[in-house]
C-alpha cells in the first residue's frame, strides 16, 4: 500500500443474537482503487457495507475513513464524511421523480448543495448515468436497469469520496453489465474510490484492482483478482469441493 489507505477496517465483528454475521474482518482500501467484495450467499457482504456506512452499529471493531474513526456514527454522519452506499434491493423514493430522487443526495450529502448549484449537479449526474431522458418520470415507472442507475446517481449526488456499490449488476443483461462496468471505471477515473459487492464474479474480476473474499463472515482471501480466483479456499467456498481447478483459468 503506497499511501495512506482511504478506508481501514480492523477486527470488525457483527453479532445478531446468536448469529455471528461478521467475524474479525480486516482490510484496507487505497484511494482510487476499485475494491471488489465477493463470497457465497450469506457470507456477510451486505452486512459489511451496512457496518461501514453506519446503518448498523458493529459489535466490535474499528473503521477509519482517512484516518478518522467512523464506526458507531449514524448513517447520515458517515455520508457527510464521504462514504455512501447503494442498496442491493433498490429503494427509490417512489412518489418522487428521478430528478427529485437525485436531488435528495445533492441536498443532504456531503456537498449540501442548494438552488441552482444543486440543480446543475443533478443534471450532470443524470447525464452521466444515462437518466436525463427520464428525469421527470416518477420513480415508480422505471425499469430495473434504470432503477439501478438511479441508486448510483443518487449516491453520486451525495458527493462521496468512497462509493459502496451493493450488487449493482444484479438482474442486468450482458450489455447492461458492460455499460455498468464502463460507468464504474469512469467514476474511478474521476477520482472516486469504489467498493463493490458482486455476484457476477466474472465482472468483478475484470474490473477490480483487488478483491476481498468473505465466507461465513470471515475473510478467507484478499489480493489481486488473479491470485484470489486461484486460491483453493476460495474455490472450495464457491464450489464446495476441494478441486484445485481455478475458477477462471484465463484470469
Amino acid at each position: 500500500m503506497p499511501a495512506e489507505p482511504l478506508l481501514s477496517v480492523r477486527d470488525l465483528s457483527m453479532r445478531f443474537g446468536g448469529l455471528l454475521a461478521l467475524d474479525a474482518v480486516h482490510f484496507d482500501v487505497a484511494p482510487g482503487e476499485i475494491y471488489g467484495v465477493i463470497g457465497p450467499n450469506g457470507a456477510g457482504k451486505t452486512t459489511l457495507f451496512s457496518c461501514l456506512v453506519g446503518a448498523l452499529a458493529p459489535t466490535r471493531g474499528e473503521i477509519r475513513l482517512r484516518g478518522g474513526r467512523i464506526d458507531g456514527l449514524p448513517n447520515h454522519q458517515v455520508v457527510a464524511r464521504g462514504l455512501v452506499r447503494t442498496h442491493q434491493i433498490v429503494r427509490p423514493f417512489r412518489d418522487m421523480s428521478v430528478r427529485e430522487n437525485v436531488s435528495v443526495g445533492a441536498h443532504f450529502g456531503s456537498g449540501r448543495r442548494r438552488g441552482a448549484d444543486a440543480a446543475r449537479r443533478v443534471g450532470g449526474i443524470l447525464e452521466r448515468t444515462g437518466l436525463s431522458t427520464r428525469a421527470d418520470a416518477p420513480a415508480s415507472t422505471l425499469t430495473i436497469g434504470e432503477l439501478k442507475r438511479l441508486e448510483i446517481a443518487r449516491a453520486l449526488a451525495a458527493e462521496p469520496q468512497a462509493l459502496c456499490l451493493d450488487e449493482v449488476m444484479g438482474g442486468l443483461n450482458p450489455s447492461e453489465i458492460l455499460e455498468a462496468l464502463s460507468l464504474i471505471r469512469s467514476l474511478r477515473d474521476s477520482g472516486l474510490t469504489i467498493l463493490m459487492i458482486e455476484h457476477h464474479v466474472h465482472a468483478v474480476v475484470g474490473v477490480s484492482d483487488r478483491i476481498l473474499v468473505l465466507n461465513f463472515g470471515q475473510r478467507i482471501a484478499e489480493g489481486p483478482p488473479a491470485d484470489v480466483v486461484r486460491d483453493p479456499e476460495v474455490v472450495s467456498a464457491y464450489l464446495g469441493g476441494d478441486d484445485a481447478v481455478p475458477l477462471f483459468p484465463e484470469a
Partner: protein
C-alpha cells in the same frame, strides 16, 4: 392549472380581509371556525402528511397555547403578548416528547402520542395551578372580536403559505424522503430525527398560536375542551379527508368539517352524529380514496398521459 392555488389564495385573502366589513357576526363566527380548522389541519400536515408521522396528540399543543395565554393574562400580561411564549413552550414540549418518541416507527409512534395527549389532559385536570377540571376564565376586559378575527385569518393564511414554503424547500424534500423510506433517506445524508423534530416543533408552535387565539375568543377554557382527544382526532381527520400531504387538502378538509359542524348543529336529531360522520368519512376515504378529496379531484381531472410502460418495481428490502 398551476396558477389556481396562488390565485385562489389571493382571492381568499382578499375575501377574509374584507369580510368583517360586510358579513354578519354569525357568518364571521363560522369563518373564524373555518380558519381554526385550516390552521390546525395545515400545521398537523407538516409532520403527519409531509413526513408521514401520524400524531394523535396535537390537542396538547392547542391546550398549551390556550393555557399559557389565560394564565399569563390573569397575571396582567396583555393577551396578544402571550402568543409567542405559548408557541415557544409548545415547541419545546414537542421536542421533549419527540426526542424519545421519534425513535419509534409508524403505529408505535402514534400510540405514544395518544398516551402523551391523554397524560397531558389528565394532568391539567388534576392540578390546581391550571384550575383543575373546571378550567380557567380569561380576565374580564374588552374583547375585540374584529382584532381576534383578523389574527385568526392571518394565521390561517400564514399556515397555508408556510406549508407551501416547506414543501418547496429542501426541508420539504427531506420530509418527503423520510415519509417514503426513512432508511434510504438516512443513507443519503438526511438526519431524519432532526427534521422530524423540526417539523414537529414548527407545527406545534402554529397550533399553540391558534390555541392562544382560541382562549381569547372563547374567554373560557377547560381540559375537557382544549385537551380533548376528540379534538386531536378532528385535527387528523381534516387533512386525511381533504388529502393528506397536499397543500389544498387540509384546507378542503377544514371546509368539509366546518360545513358539517354548522349543518349538523342545525339539525337537532343529527347533533350527536358527528362521531358517526367522522368515522364514516374516515372509513370511506381509506377504503376508496386514500388521497382524499384532492386525490379524487386529481383523478377526475387528469387525462392519462402516455408514459413509459410501467415495470414491476421490486419491493424495498
Amino acid at each position: 392549472m398551476k396558477r389556481l392555488p396562488a390565485a385562489s389564495g389571493l382571492a381568499a385573502t382578499a375575501f377574509l380581509l374584507a369580510a368583517p366589513l360586510f358579513l354578519d357576526r354569525g357568518t364571521l363566527n363560522d369563518l373564524w371556525s373555518l380558519s381554526l380548522g385550516v390552521i390546525l389541519a395545515s400545521a398537523w400536515n407538516l409532520l403527519g402528511g409531509f413526513a408521514g408521522q401520524v400524531s394523535l396528540g396535537y390537542s396538547a399543543f392547542l391546550g398549551i397555547g390556550a393555557y399559557t395565554t389565560v394564565l399569563l393574562s390573569l397575571r396582567g400580561v396583555p393577551p396578544f403578548l402571550t402568543l409567542p411564549l405559548g408557541a415557544l413552550l409548545a415547541a419545546l414540549f414537542s421536542v421533549a416528547i419527540g426526542l424519545p418518541a421519534f425513535r419509534l416507527r409508524g403505529p408505535y409512534f402514534t400510540i405514544a402520542t395518544i398516551g402523551v395527549g391523554e397524560a397531558v389532559r389528565v394532568s391539567a385536570a388534576s392540578v390546581a395551578f391550571t384550575g383543575g377540571s373546571s378550567g380557567l376564565r380569561m380576565p374580564s376586559g374588552s374583547f375585540d372580536f374584529t382584532a381576534n378575527f383578523y389574527a385568526m385569518a392571518a394565521l390561517a393564511i400564514f399556515s397555508v403559505v408556510l406549508a407551501a414554503a416547506v414543501r418547496a424547500s429542501a426541508f420539504g424534500t427531506a420530509l418527503a424522503a423520510i415519509r417514503q423510506d426513512i432508511d434510504a433517506a438516512e443513507s443519503l445524508g438526511v438526519n431524519a430525527t432532526r427534521y422530524k423534530l423540526l417539523a414537529h416543533a414548527l407545527s406545534a408552535a402554529v397550533v399553540a398560536l391558534a390555541g392562544s387565539l382560541y382562549a381569547i375568543n372563547f374567554q373560557y377554557i377547560a381540559p375537557g375542551s382544549v385537551f380533548d382527544f376528540r379534538l386531536s382526532l378532528s385535527i387528523v381527520l381534516m387533512p386525511v379527508v381533504g388529502g393528506v400531504g397536499t397543500i389544498a387538502g387540509p384546507v378542503l378538509g377544514a371546509l368539509v368539517f366546518s360545513t358539517l359542524q354548522i349543518k349538523l348543529l342545525a339539525i337537532p336529531a343529527l347533533r350527536d352524529a358527528y362521531l358517526l360522520l367522522y368515522g364514516g368519512l374516515l372509513i370511506l376515504v381509506i377504503l376508496y380514496e386514500p388521497g382524499g378529496l384532492v386525490g379524487l379531484l386529481r383523478r377526475l381531472t387528469t387525462r392519462r398521459q402516455a408514459t413509459a410502460p410501467e415495470q414491476e418495481v421490486p419491493d424495498a428490502g
